[in-house]
C-alpha cells in the first residue's frame, strides 16, 4: 500500500503520487459545497454553509465568501482555519501589488501568486499542504470578468462554471448540461439553486444553509459583491420546489 510514503509531504510515492496532496483534496470533498458560474454580466458564487446552529452569534456577514481586493472576491471549501490563513495571504499579495503599481492586481496574477505559495508546501518545508480549495471571482481590464479555481496542489484553472467541495462532481456534470455561454446573471441564479438543490438531496436545502453572492461591474467602474438577501434566496428555493413538484406530477 506504500504507506511509508504517506507521511512525508515532500516525497513522491513509487507510483508517482503525492499522497499528502491527495489526502488534502479528500478533506475538501467532505466540506461545504461552493458553486461558481460566470455569466456575461456578472459572476455568481453560491456556498453551502455547514455551521448553522442557532446559538451561533453572527459576527461576520458571510462564512465562506471573502473580499480579497477592490476587484476580487473568493469563496472557500475545506478546513476553515487553513482558509483564513490563505485569505489573509491573498489580501496581502493584492495590496503589495497595489502598493507598487497603484493599480488593482489583475485576477490571474493574484491566483497564480497564491498558487505558487501553495505549491511550495508540496515540495519543501516539511509542512502539510493547505486543505482548502478556492473559487476566485473578479474583474480586470485585461480579460474582464473571470472565474478561477485552485486546489491544495497549487494547480489553478479558469472556468465558466465549476464547483468545489462535497458532491462537486455531480454538480459539475449538472452544470455541464445546463450551462449556456451567454447566460445572464438573472438566468444563472435559478440555475445555481437548481444545482445546489440537486446535490443537497440528503439534507433539505433551506435559505439559512445557503450563501449566494454576485460579483458585478458598476457603471462607475468599481467591482461590487452583492450578497443576495435571505428572503430572496428563500423565495427562489420555494420556486424551485414548485417546479420540481410540477415536473414529478407530469
Amino acid at each position: 500500500m506504500s504507506r511509508r510514503y504517506d507521511s512525508r509531504t515532500t516525497m513522491f510515492s513509487p507510483e508517482g503520487r503525492l499522497y499528502q496532496v491527495e489526502y488534502a483534496m479528500e478533506a475538501i470533498g467532505n466540506a461545504g459545497t461552493c458553486l461558481g458560474i460566470l455569466a456575461k454580466d456578472g459572476i455568481l458564487l453560491a456556498c453551502e454553509k455547514r455551521i448553522t446552529n442557532k446559538l451561533l452569534d453572527e459576527i461576520f456577514e458571510t462564512e465562506k465568501l471573502y473580499r480579497l481586493s477592490p476587484n476580487m472576491v473568493c469563496s472557500v471549501a475545506g478546513i476553515t482555519s487553513d482558509a483564513n490563513t490563505l485569505v489573509n495571504e491573498l489580501r496581502l499579495i493584492a495590496q503589495r501589488y497595489q502598493l507598487n503599481y497603484q493599480e488593482s492586481m489583475p485576477c490571474e496574477q493574484l491566483v497564480a501568486s497564491m498558487c505558487d505559495v501553495k505549491q511550495a508546501y508540496t515540495q519543501f518545508g516539511g509542512k502539510r499542504p493547505f486543505g482548502v480549495s478556492l473559487l476566485y471571482a473578479g474583474w480586470d481590464h485585461h480579460f474582464g470578468l473571470q472565474l478561477y479555481q485552485s486546489d491544495p496542489s497549487g494547480n489553478y484553472s479558469g472556468w465558466k462554471a465549476t464547483c468545489i467541495g462535497a458532491n462537486n462532481a455531480q454538480a459539475i456534470s449538472s452544470l455541464d448540461s445546463d450551462y449556456k455561454s451567454d447566460m445572464s446573471l438573472q438566468e444563472a441564479i435559478p440555475l445555481a439553486i437548481k444545482v445546489m438543490y440537486k446535490i443537497m438531496d440528503q439534507n433539505k436545502l433551506t435559505a439559512e444553509k445557503l450563501e449566494i453572492a454576485t460579483v458585478t461591474r458598476t457603471d462607475e467602474g468599481t467591482t461590487e459583491m452583492t450578497i443576495i438577501p435571505r428572503e430572496t434566496v428563500a423565495e427562489l428555493i420555494t420556486k424551485r420546489e414548485q417546479e420540481i413538484a410540477q415536473e414529478t406530477q407530469k
Partner: protein
C-alpha cells in the same frame, strides 16, 4: 543609467510573465516606489526623471515628473534640471489641454531655443 536599465528590464519581465504590458501609470508608480525604497538605503538613486507613455487600451497619453526624492506627479508637461526655471514659464504660457502633436513639437523647439539663448551652459 543602471537605474534605468533595472526599471526597463523589470518592465520586460512583467510582460514576459503575464503576456501583457504594464500601463504607463503602473510603470510610473513602480519606478517611484523603487526610487523611494532606495532613498533610505545606503545606495540611493540620484536620478531625476521625466516619464511619458501612452496606455495601450485607452490610448490616453500621460507625462510624469519624478525626482530623486520619489516625488511623482502626473502633469501636462514636465521639466527636470536647471532649465526648468526657464521652461516652466514658457510651457505654462503656450501649452493647452487640446494641443496637437505639431503644435507640441513647435513648443518643444521654442523651449530648446529658449535654453540656447537664456541658459549659459548649452
Amino acid at each position: 543609467r543602471v537605474h534605468g536599465e533595472y526599471i526597463s528590464k523589470n518592465i520586460q519581465l512583467y510582460s514576459m510573465r503575464n503576456g501583457y504590458e504594464l500601463s504607463p501609470h503602473a510603470i510610473a508608480n513602480f519606478t517611484r516606489r523603487n526610487m523611494a525604497d532606495f532613498l533610505r538605503s545606503r545606495t540611493p538613486y540620484q536620478v531625476n526623471c521625466v516619464l511619458g507613455g501612452v496606455d495601450k487600451s485607452s490610448s490616453r497619453p500621460a507625462v510624469y515628473y519624478l525626482d530623486y526624492l520619489g516625488c511623482l506627479s502626473q502633469q501636462p508637461f514636465a521639466v527636470q534640471g536647471y532649465g526648468s526655471n526657464f521652461l516652466y514659464g514658457l510651457l505654462d504660457r503656450h501649452h493647452r489641454a487640446d494641443i496637437t502633436k505639431e503644435e507640441a513639437l513647435q513648443l518643444l523647439n521654442m523651449c530648446m531655443k529658449e535654453l540656447k539663448i537664456r541658459f549659459a551652459i548649452s
